[in-house]
Every structure is written in structure tokens, then in C-alpha cells.
């Protein structure tokens, strides 16, 4: 059955999106997947603000 994006039949795991700082790497604390978004390595924020 088709399901609207955003609806989920099971609990969403926090894996890869949430991490304790003791396990976090520097400068990107989360495991990196393929990402279209330019991370602001110089200033520490991901770039999605303007577009």
C-alpha cells in the first residue's frame, strides 16, 4: 500500500542521526552518507539556508 512520505509503520531508529559526544568524530559527528548538501567546513554548519 502506498504510504504518504512522513508516515511510518515502525519506530524510527536514531542510528546515524544522533550520537553521544563521546562517540562523535570531528569535524562531522555522524556517519557520512551521500550528501548533496555542502557542509560548511570552515564555519561548522551545513548549507541549506538560502535555497
Amino acid at each position: 500500500m502506498l504510504r504518504k512520505v512522513g508516515e511510518s509503520a515502525w519506530p524510527i531508529s536514531e542510528k546515524d542521526a544522533v550520537v553521544s559526544i563521546k562517540d562523535a568524530s570531528y569535524p562531522i559527528p555522524f556517519p557520512q552518507g551521500w550528501n548533496l548538501i555542502h557542509r560548511h567546513m570552515a564555519v561548522g554548519i551545513s548549507f541549506i539556508l538560502e535555497c
Partner: protein, 405 residues
């Protein structure tokens, strides 16, 4: 939008244009913003240069008042198809010699190194500043690079006049001519990390003194920065800086203690949009007895490396949460079950808290010790007054949107 008498033109496809148009609308700046839509045929026919030139020229001719400057934004697609950007700017400058065209690039996709669009925009904003040598004023300091003017109570606005300097900021310029006068300063000072790249280049181009005093939540770092500032300015009557700094630190301590008594052990979540130093803020609050549980961020700035290492050791259970991971679309609360103090809009959205500090990019707090004192005050206000996030947080990214962005 900060440059007086300037007009923005975006040339891009519908998908990206949506966000940009909504931003302009939310700023009530529709009259200073125009756009040219790129369609599939423009890519297939290879006429993107012509579309950009003709579309922009047509828009300019239709404006009620000729702007002094045009911020022309080209986007990712211009780069993907190898568009001749120099030809675009050259032809427009020939057609409209009285207008200054600022080269703005909104090209974040797949860019993994080099300056970001935000950094490039902050550079472009000051590219038309110049100054004749006889107009340079060694007693003028232009504070540039941030979207916000510093608070009147900020350390810099207190220290600079004390040392006999006049402070100028882009935010107080009402005309193009006033904007151009920013270039007369003998010193360019930047506090905001994304602005550093452009302002440093500006100072190099005009052969001026450049000072980068990044906003911080660390007493020692602020002290060092203000000592550098003081030694560079060389105040005429040799005023002592140290007693002034000690007084400022005691004001910060009093404010933090007062706020801690009000907030107590309430969990605190911080996000990176509140301030470029979210980990530095977490460290400051933890060392003053606050219960910081979560920081929302996606990467860690080199300026925060020390705070990161400190937190890793002293508060290993501190939770870091991504804001751009796809799962975060679902990993957020509609309503917080217990009272949480959120510092920043994203922290408010993800925790569902109605008690939040509604501020972005450090706003006017970027001025030394006073930024710490004001942050404590803002936390106390936010803790005491419930707010409706939906009426305060920018709406373009709010839920319910079916766009893929």
C-alpha cells in the same frame, strides 16, 4: 537586502526559486527582489547565457526606480552546463554602466571545498567598496560581515568610542553613498565566521588593517581578543583595559548565576543557528551548573575544536543531533512532554518546546563579554515566557510543505 538602494535578481528553476521567493516575502522585501525562471528548454537549447542576460535586462528596465546595485545570483545549473558567467556580467555592465553588478553565486550542490555561497555572498556585498587615499580615516572602524548590527551594549561599541574611534556598520547605512563610506575606514573588523573570508580580502584589496575577533563564550578567548583590539587601537590616554575586563566578567558571572537560579535543572537544548559556537555555549553553561542535554548541529567548526574535546571528556553523555539527516524529519516532537529550554529555532522545532530563545546567527550579541551576559538574560526571558513557535519561526521551512526541499 542589507545594501541600500540595491536590488536582488535570482536566475534559477522553480524548485529552488520557491525557497528564495518565500524568504523575500517573509522579509516583506518583494519590491527589492525579482527572478528569472530557468526552464528545461533553456538547458536543451544552450541559451542559458542569453536567458540570464535578457531576463535580467528586461527586469531592470521594468523597475520603477533604477537601483544603484544589482545582486545577480546565478545558481548550480549555470555551473553544471558550463555557462559563461563572465560574458553575462560583461554584457550587463555594458548595457547598464550606471549600475554596479555584484557577482553572487548560489551554488551549494556537490561543492565539497572552497568558499560556500554564504561566504561568497558576504564577499560580494563589499566588492564595490573602495576609497580614495585622502578619504581614508584611520579613526574609523567598519564592523562588517554579519547580518546584524552589534547591540549598543556590546563590548566593541563601548570600547571603540572609548579609544576615540567612530564605528560604522552596514545596517545603519540608509543610502548607497553611506554604504560606500564604509570603505573609508582605516580598520575593518569582523566578528562573524562566515564574513571573515570576504572582509579579509576587502582589507587586503584596500590595504587596510584587518581584525577578526570571533564571537565567543570563553572568558580567556574574549580577553585575548580584546587585548589584541586594544593594542591595535593604541588609545591615546593609555586607559587600562584589565579593570574594565574584570568588571565585565563579574557582570557575566552575576547574570549567569541569576539565570541558573531561575532555570534550575531544566533540560536545555542548543542549536547551531542560535550562534556559530553552540559547543562553546554548552561548555559555558555546563561549567555554570546548567543542565545542557542536547546540541543540534551537523558539523563542528574548527573554532570549536577545543570545546568539542573538552565536552567529550567532561560531559561524554551530551547528545549531538543532526538537523539535516533524513530521519530527523520524523525524529522530532510536536509538543515537549516536559519543560525544555530551547536555545535557537531549530532546537525549539525539534524538541517541540514553547520556551525558546528566538535568535539566529548570534544576532547583535557578537560583542565580547556582553554577549554572555545578554545570552543569560535571553535564556531567563525565554524560560519565563511561553511563545508560539509557529508565529515566530520562519514559515518557509515549516511542516506541511510538499516540496522536496
Amino acid at each position: 537586502m542589507l545594501i541600500p538602494e540595491a536590488h536582488q535578481i535570482y536566475v534559477c528553476a522553480d524548485n529552488c526559486m520557491r525557497g528564495v521567493v518565500l524568504t523575500a516575502a517573509e522579509m516583506h522585501a518583494e519590491d527589492r527582489f525579482s527572478f528569472v525562471i530557468v526552464e528545461e528548454q533553456n538547458l536543451l537549447n544552450g541559451d542559458l547565457e542569453d536567458l540570464t542576460i535578457e531576463g535580467t535586462a528586461d527586469l531592470i528596465r521594468k523597475l520603477k526606480k533604477m537601483p544603484k546595485a544589482i545582486l545577480l545570483f546565478t545558481v548550480c545549473i549555470h555551473h553544471f552546463i558550463g555557462c559563461d558567467l563572465e560574458r553575462i556580467y560583461r554584457e550587463l555592465e555594458e548595457q547598464f554602466p550606471e549600475i554596479t553588478f555584484l557577482r553572487c553565486y548560489m551554488d551549494p550542490i556537490m561543492q565539497k571545498h572552497g568558499p560556500t555561497p554564504d561566504q561568497k555572498l558576504r564577499k560580494a556585498m563589499y566588492e564595490s567598496l573602495d576609497s580614495e587615499p585622502d578619504k581614508m580615516d584611520t579613526k574609523q572602524i567598519s564592523i562588517l560581515g554579519s547580518d546584524f548590527a552589534l547591540d549598543q551594549s556590546s563590548d566593541l561599541k563601548e570600547l571603540l568610542p572609548k579609544a576615540g574611534y567612530t564605528v560604522r556598520e552596514l545596517q545603519s547605512c540608509r543610502t548607497w553613498e553611506e554604504y560606500k563610506e564604509l570603505g573609508n575606514a582605516g580598520t575593518f573588523l569582523c566578528c562573524y565566521p562566515s564574513g571573515k573570508y570576504g572582509i579579509e580580502l576587502l582589507a587586503k584589496r584596500l590595504d587596510r588593517t584587518f581584525l577578526y575577533l570571533p564571537l565567543s563564550f570563553d572568558y580567556e578567548e574574549i580577553k585575548k581578543e580584546e587585548e589584541i583590539l586594544w593594542n591595535t587601537l593604541k588609545p591615546e590616554d593609555n586607559q587600562e583595559l584589565l579593570p574594565w575586563i574584570e568588571k565585565k566578567i563579574s557582570l557575566c558571572e552575576a547574570a549567569l548565576e541569576h539565570t541558573r537560579q531561575v532555570i534550575g535543572n531544566t533540560p536545555i537544548a542548543i542549536d547551531y543557528t542560535f550562534h556559530p559556537r553552540p559547543l562553546g555555549l554548552a561548555k559555558l553553561l555546563l561549567t555554570h551548573g546548567f543542565n545542557v542535554e542536547t546540541v543540534y548541529l551537523d558539523s563542528i567548526s574548527p573554532e570549536e575544536k577545543e570545546a568539542f574535546a573538552w565536552l567529550k571528556e567532561k560531559k561524554p553523555e551530551l547528545e549531538l543531533r543532526s538537523t539535516v539527516h533524513a530521519k530527523m524529519r520524523l525524529l522530532h516532537e510536536e509538543h515537549a512532554t516536559d519543560k525544555i529550554l530551547a536555545i535557537g529555532q531549530k532546537a525549539a522545532w525539534f524538541t517541540g518546546s514553547r520556551y525558546f530563545v528566538n535568535l539566529v546567527q548570534g544576532a547583535g550579541l557578537q560583542g565580547g563579554f556582553d554577549g554572555i551576559r545578554r545570552t543569560a538574560e535571553l535564556m531567563e526571558e525565554a524560560f519565563s515566557e511561553e511563545k508560539d513557535p509557529k508565529t515566530l519561526i520562519v514559515k518557509k521551512g515549516w511542516g506541511g510543505c510538499t516540496s522536496c526541499i
